[in-house]
Symmetry: D2
Subunit: 344 residues, 4 copies
């Protein structure tokens, strides 16, 4: 059994990691940190784990990590991860960072979208952006995996086959995404207070969401040229799920059957990508609690627009599940190990 630690274990991505690792046959949790709940038993903070996971929460101190730990999941807020990761790498540990700190290759983008100077910009080039389906080889070799954001995962997986095929007109890429509330994290704030949040729908950070550069970086790599997107995130009154509706045009005439075949071929070895047929559409409930990404394509003959729909669970494929998938790849285990749950 591989011994692992989670830094920042009491947030939603942290508790999802705990849950998924508990059901994983090859990995064992030895260390959980939490600044806000140091000294408490883990199940006191998350009573769903009563009688099963009673590890005492530790302060965020690398010196406290047991020697047998060889893998660390960082589920810390951005900024905090940036600071702690180098010491982990120095100690020879493998790191899967769920924050946004090591995702962007260009530190000036980090500076401009997060309003923070990156403390370790030289590390950025060696971090592997962990979309499991796209970077399998690099993930196997990586010491530092920058686990992607939830919106980016849904969007990059939806556009990767099209951009790789060179068929997309890059002039117009409009992405209208909708997220469940857990994406905003576990800290109570006014917009997520139940009576202000339920029975409500809204857009937020319109054209200015901090995931934008990460999406553009990856779409640019896939397209082989600079890509600029129009991105509007929205908040849906549900706990989990991201649904992205993507609008783009094609450079030449391609039938929907050909397009579907391009997608199917691109993902032919990807366990967690399901390409739906022309009679089906994604719904977040069908991937809720799972590591799946459901994709569907529709072509509008009247306007020439292609509509790509992508649904994932923001906390699983969009965060902790993909982290486990990346760990599986990294250790050479089947990518679906410990991730076979169905939506309930």
């Amino acid at each position: 059994m591989i011994k692992a630690a989670i830094l920042g274990a009491t947030g939603y991505t942290g508790s999802e990691l705990v849950r998924l690792i508990q059901g994983h046959p090859k990995i064992e949790l030895l260390f959980l940190s939490s600044e806000s709940s140091t000294g408490e038993a883990y199940s006191k903070i998350h009573p769903q784990f009563r009688e099963r996971i009673n590890i005492e929460l530790q302060p965020l101190s690398i010196d406290l990590l047991p020697n047998s730990v060889e893998l660390v999941f960082c589920a810390l807020p951005h900024g905090q991860s940036a600071a702690v990761v180098p010491a982990l790498l120095d100690r020879g540990l493998k790191v899967i960072d769920l924050s946004s700190d090591y995702r962007l290759k260009d530190p000036t983008l980090y500076q401009s979208w997060y309003d923070l100077n990156h403390p370790h910009p030289l590390l950025l080039s060696s971090a592997v952006y962990g979309i499991s389906e796209l970077y399998q080889d690099q993930i196997m070799a990586a010491k530092l995996i920058a686990n992607p954001g939830c919106y980016p995962t849904s969007i990059i997986l939806g556009l990767a086959p099209l951009l790789s095929s060179g068929l997309a007109n890059l002039e117009t890429i409009i992405i209208d995404s909708k997220s469940g509330v857990s994406g905003a994290g576990r800290t109570p704030k006014q917009p997520f207070h139940f009576p202000d949040c339920t029975e409500n729908f809204k857009a937020y950070r319109v054209l200015s969401h901090q995931h934008t550069p990460e999406i553009e970086q990856e779409l640019g790599r896939l397209a082989g040229e600079k890509v600029t997107i129009t991105f509007t995130p929205h908040l849906v009154p549900m706990i989990r799920g991201i649904f992205s509706t993507i609008y783009t045009k094609l450079l030449k005439k391609v039938s929907i059957e050909e397009l579907t075949a391009i997608y199917a071929d691109y993902y032919r070895e990807s366990f967690f990508i399901r390409i739906l047929d022309q009679n089906s559409l994604p719904e977040t409930r069908f991937i809720r609690g799972t590591n799946y990404c459901d994709l569907a394509l529709r072509f509008d003959r009247r306007t020439g627009f292609l509509v790509i729909m992508s649904a994932i669970d923001n906390l699983i494929k969009g965060a902790s599940g993909q982290a486990i998938q990346n760990m599986n790849i990294s250790y050479g285990w089947p990518e679906e190990t410990g991730l076979l749950q169905f939506a309930i």
Copy 2:
């Protein structure tokens, strides 16, 4: 007091009409029909009206309409309204039809999108499409007001100033709309069964929703030329509210301040349109239960796309409230009469 009737009074738009008329100072309900609940007291079907509205539900027979009735709201399913409206007009009654039957000017569009032959195509030209803010004069003169659909109301109000100004690039009009579940009506069906519907987000009728031709008809009138849209509706797990996110490009450089001024000027006499500033965004909860339409504009300097956001209550401004507003205009009363409620 004007005496009124509602045909199809037990659906959601019917019961919203009853509720709004009950609080209106100039109109009185004399007749309510329901095929499914004939003979029942109205408050037995909708117990929120207990002790206050006990009118007995009647069959859908025009002969039963009291002679003093001079105004009829048709809240019947499409197809049924088409059949009954001519007889109402023949009797000299004013008709506000909330179905989609008299909205399209071109009967071939009705045929192709609703899969029905229109039984009275000659009536289509005399019906006035009842977006209150756009057709005030025609509404005052009309005998038959075709009350707009919920999606179309949110979209047309969002685009009218822009299209009228001639600034929009009509090549790309992408409309991503999200609706609460009451828009699907009161009849129980599997997709709206609570456990299948809550905690879920999905698209439906992608590129094929029956409101498309109605939107294009009106946008075309405003633009002075044919307009084709890419329209994707989605279902949000909440009772009420429509939020439309509209993406389009401009034909020339215009600042967001100028655009906002164009919108403010266009709607300067429109009580129910609120143009938000650059620090605010619409949320459906702020218009829930009201006749308001909240609009906001954002311009993406990186891509050149304008994003227009529009929020209405689908059952009020998107249906019964706009019907009351049209009635007010029709009788020469202030348009906001009986519609001054705030969101709760």
Copy 3:
């Protein structure tokens, strides 16, 4: 028009007061206070009031009250109301206090359930407990109305006819209440964070809720002897509504028809109390957004228990609506003035 002020205008009960007063024909708002948002326009905090209510929020200073104000609603947290009320009374103002500070007659109960010494215990005897249906005469004469809590309103209205009749066996009064989340107030806290709160049901403050002594005080008055209750509140994932299920035994055999007649007679002049028949049961949606209290009775012949069900909107009949109703009574206006809304 009577001129009024609201102290603590930005919480949920404060904004409900604003909303209800705006639709009331005989009262006008001149002053709104908020410690947290002093200097802001009211509609900036509650954008549902955009373009209609832009009063600037003031600090909580009685010296700032305009001289023309003659009525003050205190929607402050408990403890704060206790401190400010005497100065308002000294100035000759009429006060309707929505906090719990002046509800209990016995200051030692206040001390033991709220863990606070009451700063003005002598005022307690002159305050009138404002259950509108029970204390009409006292409310008319009162300078200080202590507006009841939400749970107490639902429970006292449910039990008043029975206790007044002397038919209840006071040995066993079990009250199982369920409340929507707005009852917890507008301040974000972990248990009311959307992802932790939706799709969840729980009990809280079991046998120790601070509304217990207020309920017992009033039931005791009605029964003419000391009453002790077993009270368990629960949290329901919905915004509004309280549903109380009350279990008690009868001292002698009475038919359900007789009991229903006793209730109907007791409330024969009460506009907002609706006694349901044996074919109907209360649901919170039928009173949501209204000042109604729907009541139903069932008798269990197998066990001899009477079950009383009571449904109210916690923010309206349980708080701000009853405050308006008390104001109406106090000024000699019909009690339903401004409160005729139906559930939407």
Copy 4:
């Protein structure tokens, strides 16, 4: 691998069985029936199983069962199970019936509460009522396991230690239960239509719910004498979960510590029962999606009432999970096999 069939596989309990069996190491599904969807692939009806479970749905015909099947789960509506079970037993199959048809020992109770004559009353005595924690030995020996109802499971588990101890005053057993909507099944009906169901709380079948005799039968067995309960079920706007609040008195003075010890001892070998301490209360989210039953006790010194709170997932411990647990016991496997999931 044991080969199994599910009759009635497309309802909620059916699809939960499919999901749980898919993650179970010792059992394999060979046959799924559905009257409404015969001939369809299973994942077409429940798209969460896309690409993984594509078994074609069969008609409800026992002749079609493969010979290798040795275990049948009946997830049919009541009445239908009663008819089909004898033929399954005749064929030598082990049957776990999730309907209510074989739960009551007394066929006259079945007749009076379900308004149906039981077609096979002689079978009732040989069926084992499958509360896993109470009837382990009988379950091991049984050919026909009558899997308990959801309300009864939550209630019987909550009262079993107390009734077995002889400490309860059987005069007063009041049970106030609250259920998520999935308990009403998968067929769309008006009360469960999303807009009529969300943001609503109500009681239903007050004092007349069909689970009453099943609860009384089992409580009577535990108490050693006839038990009569006062039972009120309520509907909570959430998908899953049952929370029962139970009120009873004690025959003699016992401290809460002693009571807790009695409960802990009674369930000392029960993996899925968690007894909470005096600082914790159950919440349905902590057992959502799991086979746990969380229990808490509180004693009201003021009134002498004991309050027992019990939380389960109605579809898992209240239906399909307990069916799997019973299967595990029946085959001599650890009872938690395949049931180790945590709440998500």
